[in-house]
């Protein structure tokens, strides 16, 4: 939505060119982010984005029961919750445990999930689509802690009906059942087969290439080596390490020949028959299908670990996949930018270097005219009413800059020209202006003077920053319009050529100077005149690019018909 303003992260630019791509290119949007999505590395003095930071898992948890899963059990449990958390095979909503035999409440209503303690056996019930696990023959004897209960899995396929009674010492038994799938066993065997080879071949390369990080602690040598092997064998794929270095890759290729031949346990063709009964059976199934609803949608099947039936009626509940908390590091210097607290549901961070704490926050909007004010209904959030008009020389807009630093800063804006004379030109105050320091006390507290500054009230202030006068001598629109607390509002104008249609979107370089936190060595200089001391506080400048999108241009006729 427009108007908006986004910040540039240079990580996608090819050279070390810091200039962003022209905003006319659709692809330029990939390089721009909202300020609150960006990080700031103090070490490199640079903005980082989610695309370029390196990510490490710092903890796993189930998004449903919120249990924090120790990373040691994550692999064993195949990245899914091993407690009582299942999602509906039809709609993916979370399933509830309900009694199959609810006490009669006299209303004659069917099973409802409201009666958590009724008579067993219990079943999994979908509160959204009303699917329940008896449809695939899964019931159990106790409602809570599926651990220690007995599952009856009636396994129905078009070829045979099998009743499997599994004595469960824990819910993980359902997973054990998954693990006994032929594909799973085959995969384990393959891993075993390659493990020794990968271990020897990776010792030389991966040990010095992989920095010892928490993420890699629990990955097996096979996984690490596989990653190393992938990056070695496929040019252009770099391993999960943003600081890629050259590595010697040729010397190990010879080892490949020494590998023993692998014999599959199962004929290749047989795999197709495991879940659904094979190709012929699939064809037969489709031949007999009367409505498309009998066939499971792709969306319902692709979350499964192994091949499942094509029939909607045979889909089984899925254990819920785990989520992770992540730490983020600077790709260049490896310093930590984000480090969450260990507790899964905590929203606090031990380290959080958000760009919003370093860079001024810019927001763009259109001045609120009296007409717009009148048009607003009570309690209705106003739409921004400004629209750029073609053939108009003074389309006005405003940029509000908020200083997050405890010292005042000097800001300088440099909008970049994007089009020739037949496009649009942007006027903004080009001379530096100041923004007050941030103080906790500025937190809004019912300060009613904060808004409602009418255009004519601003006349006094405008005189300072603006450049030239309008032909009719009205108040100027370009310049510093308002200063309060740690916010400065500047006005700008856009001249749109009569023939221009499209977005008014331009890149803008923002430079700001701030007092550095470093101690000032000259402070104690005895002989220095006081004026020199005042000048000495170390001042630093930081620049970053933004893209300003003021929205589409309308012709006058369009706007009148609105």
């Amino acid at each position: 939505m427009w108007p908006n303003i986004q910040y540039y992260c240079p990580c996608l630019s090819s050279a070390n060119a810091l200039t962003p791509p022209p905003p006319i290119l659709a692809s330029s949007s990939a390089s721009f982010h909202s300020l609150h999505n960006l990080y700031f590395c103090e070490e490199c003095d640079a903005v980082r984005c989610n695309r370029c930071v390196s990510v490490e898992v710092s903890g796993y948890y189930c998004p449903n029961c919120l249990f924090e899963v120790p990373s040691a059990s994550v692999r064993a449990e195949k990245n899914r919750c091993a407690r009582n958390c299942f999602s509906c095979p039809i709609c993916r909503a979370t399933l509830s445990v309900v009694a199959s035999d609810p006490p009669d409440d006299g209303t004659g209503r069917p099973i409802t999930p409201l009666n958590n303690v009724g008579e067993g056996p219990y079943l999994l019930y979908c509160n959204y689509c009303r699917w329940d696990s008896t449809e695939v023959g899964i019931t159990f004897e106790k409602p809570t802690g599926l651990a220690g209960t007995r599952w009856l899995v009636h396994f129905v396929s078009n070829a045979y009906i099998r009743v499997v009674a599994i004595d469960l010492s824990s819910t993980a038994q359902l997973q054990k059942y998954e693990d006994s799938a032929p594909e799973s066993l085959e995969f384990e065997r393959l891993k075993e087969h390659f493990e020794p080879f990968l271990r020897t071949s990776s010792l030389s390369s991966s040990t010095h290439l992989l920095p010892p990080t928490s993420h890699h602690l629990h990955t097996s040598s096979a996984t690490a080596a596989a990653s190393a092997a992938l990056s070695r064998d496929i040019p252009g794929i770099s391993k999960y390490n943003p600081l890629s270095r050259s590595r010697s890759g040729r010397d190990r290729t010879a080892n490949k020949d020494e590998m023993a031949e692998y014999k599959s346990r199962v004929e290749v063709g047989l795999f197709g028959q495991l879940g659904s009964g094979g190709d012929d059976a699939d064809v037969e199934l489709l031949r007999c299908t009367e409505t498309v609803g009998e066939i499971a949608k792709l969306e319902q099947r692709w979350g499964n670990s192994w091949i499942t039936s094509l029939r909607m009626s045979e889909l089984r509940p899925l254990r819920i996949p785990l989520h992770s908390k992540v730490s983020k590091r600077c790709p260049a210097c490896r310093h930590i930018l984000i480090k969450p607290e260990q507790k899964a549901q905590s929203v606090r961070y031990k380290i959080k270097l958000a760009a919003a704490n370093y860079l001024p926050a810019l927001s763009v909007g259109f001045p609120q005219t009296q007409a717009a004010k009148r048009a607003l209904g009570k309690g209705v959030e106003p739409r921004n009413v400004g629209v750029m008009l073609a053939g108009i020389t003074n389309n006005t807009f405003r940029v509000a800059l908020t200083n997050p630093l405890y010292d005042p800063i000097q800001v300088r804006l440099s909008p970049q020209r994007v089009t020739d004379g037949r496009g649009f030109q942007v006027s903004l105050p080009l001379t530096p202006f100041s923004i007050g320091a941030f103080a906790e006390a500025w937190e809004y507290d019912d300060d009613e003077d904060m808004f409602g500054v009418e255009d004519d009230e601003l006349g006094l202030e405008v005189g300072r920053g603006s450049r030239d006068k309008d032909a009719r001598g009205r108040t100027k629109n370009v310049g510093v319009l308002e200063r309060r607390a740690n916010v400065t509002v500047v006005g700008g104008e856009v001249n749109v050529h009569r023939s221009y249609r499209g977005q008014v979107k331009f890149n803008m370089l923002v430079s700001y100077t701030y007092r550095s936190d470093d101690p000032l060595p000259s402070e104690d200089g005895a002989g220095t005149p006081s004026r020199a001391v005042v000048k000495t506080p170390e001042v630093k400048t930081f620049s970053f690019y933004t893209v300003v999108d003021l929205g589409p241009v309308l012709s006058k006729d369009d706007s009148e018909s609105r």
């Binding site: 989520h323 899964a344 549901q345 509000a400 809004y444 808004f451």
Partner: protein, 188 residues
Amino acid sequence: MDTPIYYSKTEFIETDTGNKVSRRATIAGPQNIILGGKTIISSGAIIRGDLRRTGPGHAVVISLGRYCLVGEGCVIRPPYKTYRGNFNYYPMKIGDHVHIGANTVVEAATIGNHVVIGKNCIIGKFTIIKDCAQVADNTVIPPNTVVPALALFSGSPGRFVEDLPESTQELVESQTKHYYTRFQPLDR
């Protein structure tokens, strides 16, 4: 930017703690409802504080924290279930800085702090929404769902879409405070 959101001065009652409650909202059982302060209840909203647990005495049915917004036409109703044969309502707790969009129906058990719920949503019975989570417009969250911290849920049924940025808490806090300051009376 700082464009005010005007409301008619005669329509809203402002409490000592800065809550602004529309006269066109239905507040049933107000003695069972707690508003934390600087919370806005928009016109047409229905808050069912009267649906309280059976038994003697006075009980908090619905509590809302500071800087909350209950949008126009929202229904806030405590969840209920029959447990051991007894039908009962259960209290609902909503944290600070929680915005609920217009025409959304909420029957959650708990909603944490800094939560944003879109418009036209249904938040099913006994749903638990953790801190800094968000629910997109037009989402249906089935009963008993857990929405983890910093997660965005969307769709019907509502499902996890993505993790929200680390700065969500600050962002939502400043947005909700800002909204309250922009919410200004217009004499008419």
